[in-house]
């Protein structure tokens, strides 16, 4: 399975909004779901590349930089499991009038939760569109995120904002009624709610947000797929509300990769997608332990490191990724901290 990383795409919506780049708006979501992966640019023969005049060389480099920005990514076992389970739930729920089951994807940051649920949403939307090709009012998928310190109204507004419904000076009841009415009329069958770790059942407001979300699950005849960081540990399943959530959702946990043959295969598969003039095949697989050390086994950090290294290699003309190139790339703080801790621990031994 080859998927595409989330990244800014070409402008297809209203240029003055930039909404086409936000997954949490209908225009952005549609741009994402209709975007096809750019074909991998063909590499020029070595001599022809060396003789390329400057303007053509720049254009050739720009094409490859754009390609590496959106580097195709190999599907991980976790992604495949999430897509398969969510697909099964959508099928089971399609005729259910109540008691629909949902899915919760939980795991540390950078383990591919958002990528997995958005990829499933994209697949589901494409399937639905094939069944209703001429219905422009059909909205098979809603994708929202729970805002930090959310209140029930803020959550309802997130749904309204995704759909493009005005909500200024509307009270929560009207916002919810408009959202539910449109969702039912537009045939929404999948609702993805990301960042549910922002929902804290320990507080009164958090509990009310959870109730609002539950109300949406009852009123919108769709499968709800929720994703968040370590939600079980953050108390999403505790108390009466938590038990209700636990009883209605399957849980899939994502985790960092171990430094094993699977990780090595992942690095090798990513390497196959590179389009660099002088890159020696097998380099990344050979350095898979170093990659694991740098990224702490996080797929998001790995993807960032390799894409950034590839772009640097094009820009500086080296046209290959080496361990030295990767050492020059800074990645996210969590992975860097884990890397430093491991290095100091091994130095102390």
């Amino acid at each position: 399975v080859v998927t595409t990383l989330l990244s800014p795409g070409p402008a297809t919506g209203r240029p003055n909004h930039g909404d086409h780049r936000l997954l949490t708006t209908l225009q952005g979501w549609r741009a994402f779901t209709t975007r096809t992966a750019a074909p991998a640019p063909d590499l020029l023969p070595r001599q022809r590349w060396a003789d390329l005049p400057s303007p053509e060389r720049d254009a050739y480099d720009d094409d490859r930089i754009a390609y590496h920005v959106r580097l195709p990514m190999v599907g991980t076992p976790a992604l495949q499991k999430i897509v398969a389970t969510a697909g099964q739930l959508v099928e089971l729920n399609q005729d259910a009038s109540s008691g629909r089951r949902g899915l919760i994807v939980s795991g540390p940051a950078g383990t591919g939760k958002t990528t997995a649920i958005t990829m499933f949403g994209k697949t589901h939307e494409a399937r639905d569109r094939r069944g209703h090709p001429d219905n422009r009012n059909r909205i098979p998928v809603i994708y929202v995120t729970v805002p930090p310190a959310a209140t029930p109204r803020m959550l309802a507004v997130e749904f309204a904002r995704f759909l493009g419904l005005p909500h200024t000076r509307l009270n929560i009841t009207y916002v919810i009624e408009a959202v539910v009415g449109v969702a039912v009329d537009a045939g929404v069958s999948l609702v993805c709610v990301d960042e549910i770790h922002n929902l804290t059942l320990a507080t009164r407001t958090g509990g009310e947000v959870s109730d609002t979300l539950k109300y949406f699950t009852e009123r919108i005849p769709a499968t709800f797929v929720l994703a968040g960081i370590d939600v079980a540990r953050n108390g999403l399943f505790t108390g009466t509300r938590g038990q209700q959530i636990a009883g209605r959702h399957n849980l899939i946990e994502t985790a960092p990769f171990d430094d094993n043959s699977e990780w090595k295969r992942l690095a090798a598969s990513l390497e196959e997608t590179l389009r660099l003039q002088h890159h020696a095949p097998g380099t990344l697989a050979r350095h898979s332990s170093y990659l694991h050390e740098r990224t702490a086994g996080m797929i998001g950090s790995l993807s960032h490191l390799i894409r950034a290294a590839a772009i640097r290699a094009i820009k500086d003309g080296t046209e290959k990724i080496t361990k030295k190139t990767m050492q020059q790339i800074a990645i996210d703080h969590a992975a860097e901290t884990a890397h430093r801790t491991r290095r100091s621990a091994s130095a102390g031994r």
Binding site: L26, G164, L165
Partner: protein, 130 residues
């Protein structure tokens, strides 16, 4: 209370409603609102040029909500109102129209995208409330 997103034109409403032949601005706003589960009065208020002014309509916003180019929507709707920047311009246009064509109050209101009582006020007083 101000509209937080006053500066940007709104995004299209989720349910697209093409204008019917014979739709006026009022009937079209009503159908568009109902299809999107909004109250027509709320949507009309949302389209006010400034929040406190019920007498001028942002036609470009209506076109944005309808996901239709302004030119097409103007052609499709019967008597689309001119897009006045402020109330004095609207009042001057109503007075000029009344002098030149002597239409009915209702026709003036429809043509200029406002309400009958405001047209009466504009024609009665040289200094209607602004």
């Amino acid at each position: 209370v101000t509209h937080p997103d006053r500066e940007n034109p709104p995004r299209p409403l989720p349910i697209h409603v093409p204008p019917d032949p014979g739709d006026s601005v009022t009937t079209y706003i009503r159908r568009l609102a109902r299809a999107n589960h909004l109250r027509p009065a709320y949507l009309r208020h949302y389209l006010n040029r400034i929040p406190s002014d019920r007498h001028t309509l942002r036609f470009d916003w209506l076109a944005a909500l309808a996901d239709t180019p302004v030119v097409h929507l103007r052609q499709a709707l019967s008597h689309p109102p001119p897009d006045y920047p402020d109330r004095p311009t609207l009042f001057a246009a109503i007075r000029a129209d009344a002098r030149a064509n002597t239409p009915t109050i209702a026709a003036l209101a429809e043509r200029h995208g406002t309400q009958n009582y405001l047209v009466r006020l504009v024609l009665k007083s040289p200094n209607p409330p602004t």
